[in-house]
Amino acid sequence: MKFAALIASNLFRRRLRTGLTLLSVTVAFILFAYLSAIRVGLSQGVDVAGADRLTVFHRVSIAQPLPLSYLDRIRRLPGVQLVVHQSWFGGVYQDPKNFFPQMPVDPEPFLKMYPEFLLPEAQRQAWLRTRTGAIVGRATAKRFGWRIDDRIPIQTGIWTRKDGSMTWEFDLVGIFDGAKQGTDTSPLYFRYDYFDETRGIGKGLVGWYIVRVTDPERTPGVARAINEEFANSSAEVKAESEKAFLQSWAKQVGDIGRIITAILTAVFFTILLVAGNTMAQSVRERTEELGVLKAVGFTHRQVLRLVLAESCLLAGLGAALGLTLGYLLVAGGDPTGGALPVFYFPPADVARGGGLGLLLGLASGVLPALQAMRLQVAEALRRG
């Protein structure tokens, strides 16, 4: 602590240079925060996927429907605790750019399947009572300014009503929140019985099934049993864990983790060069001063630690500023206006960012620090 003034004064003696380097590091960490949030968004909640849930969809494609009759057959299989179905509605609200997921479901088992959706009891009851009722996640309700009792018109390009209309109207009876930070609160859920009765095509079909197993350890066995149950039928299925399903879904836009790691590697390598250059210049122009420090009794190791402390302070300040600003910017919400419903900076990534800052400080300072450590006093004073 007693060296703090010495370290800080050395670092900020060239304010413009240090300021610009600090800015570069800060921007890199803001980018880190944003890319972390984008990774989470594109992973569609893989991190919070249920370990005890399976997704069952048509073997050919998720776009192919499955018979509703599969529900009971799956339910009867050993190791299955609960089964629900979902279907893709694919509608928009008022404008094609106002896209968000909507799905018809069977309310009671659906809410049992997803305890992470927090819906007040009165709203749950209202949904059970109202055939045209729908519930929506907080993110979408906030996005469009919806309130309970609003009537929500949704235009769909897939599901024509029996009367030929493509506009479906729902009564908003509930708004749910997520129990976890990564819970997707963008979808709208409405009742399947109303949907099936009103649609003009595809009656008795559903999009896919979600299965909860009695024991997460049995997930692979149950998945195998489901696949075998419908083998050689007209609609064979593929069952896999919810996490695997979400991961393969996310991979449709590429290996997000690898892409983001590649971008961050390039960014941080550049920043390492910038910060390293600042430290190298700082040490070079202080040769004589470092000689004086050694003359008055500082050991080689103490000088090494002083220079490393400077580089760590620079990188640490930049990281702290960048992570804080990044956190605040990400907290401002999805910048795409709906394409990334799950958009947050995970605490684990904040901690990783802190570690990265320290690593950057050490890496950018190590060569200049070694150079300073190796300086011979008499030589340093002569060169000054």
Binding site: S9, K294, V296, G297, R301, Q302
Partner: protein, 232 residues
């Protein structure tokens, strides 16, 4: 002499050479020197005669190619780099020709530097700094940066930094070389007072005969050897 009758500084058969290209340059040759405790010694000689090299050897900033350097009973060649640094912190105060203050620190912080290596707490360090700066007559300039001080004032801050740990030996490398006559006089007066009133042992390299006149004794160096007088 020290309390046990031995000189504070004793050099015997000291040689120093540097490698330059394929050859070697001999800077000091079979040099013997003894400096008593409390003595104010001036080292004179033309440029390249080895004055600063000799000062560096006595201060443990450099090592002799051969021979022994003993300061306060400590043989320099027996100390590791780390031990040498700690020994310098305890026993040596350096005063440089160009002051060598850290420009980013104010006078008080510059003087405090050697104290950062001690176990003194902040208040104790502050007291020592104020005392050292009051000895050199600059206790009203604590918060001034080097750029806000005149050359003479900067050198006095340099002297305060050299004496703040109460070292055994002060090594001054042309302390008035960059100063005008009046400022140089003030610095010499200060060194003289430190020698007379505080009993400090001082070895001062100088080109200036006027400066050397303030010392108890003057040693002449010529081509790396001690001579009785500089040849014309």
């Amino acid at each position: 002499m020290t309390a046990n009758g031995k000189p504070l500084v004793q050099l015997a058969g000291v040689e120093k050479s540097y490698r330059r290209g394929a050859g070697r340059v001999q800077v000091l040759e079979r040099l013997d020197l003894a400096v008593a405790a409390g003595e104010f010694l001036a080292l004179m000689g033309p440029s390249g005669s080895g004055k600063s090299t000799l000062l560096n050897l006595i201060g443990g900033l450099d090592r002799p190619s051969s021979g022994t350097v003993v300061v306060g009973g400590e043989r320099m060649e027996h100390l590791s780099e780390q031990q040498l640094a700690r020994w310098r912190a305890r026993h040596i105060g350096f005063v440089f020709q160009f002051y060598n203050l850290l420009p980013a620190l104010n006078a008080a912080r510059n003087v405090e530097l050697p104290l950062l290596l001690t176990r003194l707490n902040r208040t104790q360090r502050r007291k020592r700094v104020e005392l050292a700066l009051s000895i050199v007559g600059l206790d009203h300039r604590l918060d001034h940066r080097p750029s806000q001080l005149s050359g003479g004032e900067q050198q006095r801050v340099g002297i305060a930094r050299a004496i703040v740990t109460d070292p055994t030996l002060l090594l001054c490398d042309e302390p008035t070389g960059d100063l005008d006559r009046a400022a140089g006089e003030a610095v010499l007066g200060l060194l003289h007072a430190l020698s007379r009133e505080h009993g400090k042992t001082i070895i001062m390299v100088t080109h200036d005969a006027h400066a050397s006149a303030r010392a108890d004794r003057t040693v002449f160096l010529y081509k790396g050897q001690i001579v009785d007088a500089i040849p014309a």
